[in-house]
Symmetry: C2
Subunit: 615 residues, 2 copies
Amino acid sequence: MALKAQVLYDFTAEPGNNELTVKEGETVTITNQNIGGGWIEAQNSRGEVGLVPEDYIEFSKALPSFPGAGTSGPALSVGNVASPDLSFFDAYAPTSAPAQNQVDTGGLSPQPDTPDTPVSPYLSSPDEASNGNDPWSVWNTDPSGGSNNNWASNPEGTQTGKNAPDPWGSHGHPQAYQGPGAEDDEWDDDWDDMKSTGGYVESESGDSGAMQRGGAHATSMKISLNKFPGFSKSGPELYLLCKQFAKGKDKLPIYTGEVGPVWSYPESQLDCIVADPKKGSKMYGLKSYIEYQITPSNTNRPVNHRYKHFDWLYERLLDKFGSAIPIPSLPDKQVTGRFEEEFIKMRMERLQGWMTRMCRHPVVSSSEVFQLFLTYKDEKDWKMGKRKAEKDETVGVMIFSTIEPEAPDLDLIEVEQKCDQFSRFTKAMDDGVKEILTVGHEHWKRCTGPLPKEYQRIGKAFQNLSTVFTSSGYQGESTLTDALTAAGKTYEDIAQMVAEQPKKDLHFLMETNNEYKGLLGCFPDTIGVHKAAIDKVKEADKLVATSKIAPQDKVTMGKRASTMSYALQAEMNHFHSNRIYDYNRVMQLYLEEQVKFYETIAAKLRQAHSQFTTM
Amino acid sequence: MALKAQVLYDFTAEPGNNELTVKEGETVTITNQNIGGGWIEAQNSRGEVGLVPEDYIEFSKALPSFPGAGTSGPALSVGNVASPDLSFFDAYAPTSAPAQNQVDTGGLSPQPDTPDTPVSPYLSSPDEASNGNDPWSVWNTDPSGGSNNNWASNPEGTQTGKNAPDPWGSHGHPQAYQGPGAEDDEWDDDWDDMKSTGGYVESESGDSGAMQRGGAHATSMKISLNKFPGFSKSGPELYLLCKQFAKGKDKLPIYTGEVGPVWSYPESQLDCIVADPKKGSKMYGLKSYIEYQITPSNTNRPVNHRYKHFDWLYERLLDKFGSAIPIPSLPDKQVTGRFEEEFIKMRMERLQGWMTRMCRHPVVSSSEVFQLFLTYKDEKDWKMGKRKAEKDETVGVMIFSTIEPEAPDLDLIEVEQKCDQFSRFTKAMDDGVKEILTVGHEHWKRCTGPLPKEYQRIGKAFQNLSTVFTSSGYQGESTLTDALTAAGKTYEDIAQMVAEQPKKDLHFLMETNNEYKGLLGCFPDTIGVHKAAIDKVKEADKLVATSKIAPQDKVTMGKRASTMSYALQAEMNHFHSNRIYDYNRVMQLYLEEQVKFYETIAAKLRQAHSQFTTM
């Protein structure tokens, strides 16, 4: 089967990784589609064979249909275009060849790069909020489905998604798009990664899903819901109408605190440190990966995990809690440049941010799967835990069956009011956060581009004038020329300070807002489940009248909607409390660094000033 | 004589001044060319009659030649295009209609204006140094002439000058262009301005010469030299070979100071204050003008002068001292917008700068004409003084005849070395100064344009997020939202500070460098006279051999070249000493304001920072 495919983007092979350099527009022959890990093996016209990221190629419509289509698995994701995320890399290693190649993707790249324009790792185009990729615009309050963005009404799945994907935007909206491809057959082969795949083993790119964050692999709770036979694809009926909850499950109490319904918080907050990224390799060095050390505060015993393990955890948390708790997606997967020091540092920082947020969540952090991830003892322990977690049936909307609010039931009007209020708030905050990202991105560009260049030119101009003055032959010149040179050097120093400052302050402001953008991107789905439940309860009278449900069922549905509302309120209160802390903290940090920045400049200029004299 | 002319630029009449609004490309009929003051009377196609600036119209080549051509006087300057200088006005009153009109001159304007780009009052295009308008490129070391830029080889005069005149550039190079038109027949009519000119009197625009600074009117010393019959157009022979100097002239001694030859400095330095600009009017308010009050430190008695009187003084100083002392030209003349407050303020500031520089010069400040300007007692005194000054014959190179160095004669090699050294230095400094003006101009644009906009957007983004947070309904929100609003307002404050800062510091740096650019622009001519003298002395042997001069004349020429060299050295030492003072002072001022600026920002941010809390 000499299957042909078209190369969508330039890809530059990393040396020693059995990769194949391909050019946009090139036609390659697929020699092995079962490599896994987001890779396929391809042969170019010169007969060279090597690995190419699946995302980088597309099977031409004119070509015979892909034999793997219709089956689940990584092969399905071939041709599902999630524009490779290299923006961050662009920003930090602008001269790197792969990043340069990426710029060549032209119209497909959401980054408005011009060759001389520095880019920031934060992309947030001003019109993002209004394009079709905004998850806020795809809320489907019709429980019977019908939205194009709903996986159920889009059987092709892999063809949906973003036309001009925003690498950071997609990070933010993991649940915005639901396509199949979740059942990655590679997972059971996790620990030792020694599966034979035609001589190649999976790469650090790990699972194809992670490679396509925001694309086909977003294993949202909807996928999980689908596991239950007879479950309507579109809503929370499974929970609302469930006859009997599974017993013996860990219960999730909701208390009434000062601010209203709150989760049960542990006495001491769990924390962890993600550190010490180490390059490992497999298959005698044929493929490499990065392993991180995670040290939780409860055991203080480090465990090691690769990105793919984080991703596995993310999938489990999304399956289990996504209906009630927004589970932000992991930092984006990146194919090229993934061994670059700056990239590893950035990913680690973002994994740390993600882990910290999960640790801070009382429900998530106390969950069995999360504890497994942080405290597994050995390989056997991990494998057993994994299997168990994957068999967990209290996923999707069924999480609500474990929630026990310690308060009187709410009536539907209250439930709806709360839901609408959260919906408005999260939408408004999403806009606010995106605005900050947009202006921050612009500011980043200016601070690392034209502004320092200008200060440098000012500095040079002073120094050049000083050089001219030195040549005057006039005595008593040196005080002025020394001072002028010093002033010039000061402006050169300022240029450097200006260029480096964003990494010291704007970076964290951007990271925090980026994290919130991701978190807020989860709310449309989370709130959508609630809206669907409310609609279902509203339908209850009709269902009773048509004998679809018993009158008692209607009462149960109301009670359960109330439970869902308590869960949502507890979660919103958790969100608010964290938000207030996070924004206070990041603004403190930002302003502190800004103060230092301006004070340092003032001090330098004061020093430069002192050298001039008119006496 | 229904003389037709083409309108070169849009001109908007100022109300009440009998002016006529005309549009670029319009054809008008000249109804009176003898208005004077830089104005002509014209009639448009609708029969409306009014005054139009001469510079704004041009007699089409296809039309019959202008009857006034070939005679001296203001009419000659009609059609001599010096692009009206509105750059400053653009910067300070960007919404003003005349300024807007000016932008329409398109390619003729050297200002690279785009509608949204703020402009600074300092224009210095990066390629300025390399274009044909650079006076440094027109040095003519061939005493027989031949340079296109030399008035003698350019009988048409009025057609020379700058193709794309730089309003500030022309300011800087008054001697770069020499054309006729100096004998402004209007001068004798100065004091009361009551000359009958067909019902119109001269306007504040004063003499046409001033209107065309850098154009036809630069009455350089070469014009003056030409007054002497038999004087070779190209050089200093008049002085070198003069048989008998006029007696009884004030002598200008040169002493040997620590730094070498120096002028004789007065015990107390003269100073003056230019202040209190008042709008006056004549002819029952038909025409208006601005009068400034000048108070010299020696009498402390204020005198009043209009711009045209300054210009008269400038012409006299240039005539008298220009061969030995660079006399910087006055701030540019401006036709439209000349009654705008900001313009008046700026002109006054520049007149002050010019006067201060003249006062500081020991030779200039002690001259009769300068003292007349500052201390005339009444109209009669002024008129008599004027007549006397205009009849002064110790002008041009003859100024050297009054110079008496108190030191042994220099040999020609020394003279030439000194001259070359000053030539190199002033050229190099001219480049350095232009570089500062270029980067300063860029910086001005950024600081008043995109940068404050960005800070404002950052401020707005914080405030918008604060508004969103306020809507959360979560209690304990107000500390954060108040702090976030305050932080946002702080960035709006910073935006305003950034936009206003250039007027507080960069302005003075630019003004000083602009002044030096003007001063340095005089050196090519000043040094040119010296080079010509050196060349003449080198020729002396040949002249003796061919009996053109007597052997004794050769000795005299050598001595006189030595005197010229002492004068040049004294002047350079004066220049250096002033330069060192001026640059120390302006850098102190600049850095002091910069320090304040950054400290104020730091303090504001510190205050904003204090409002956030993570407790």
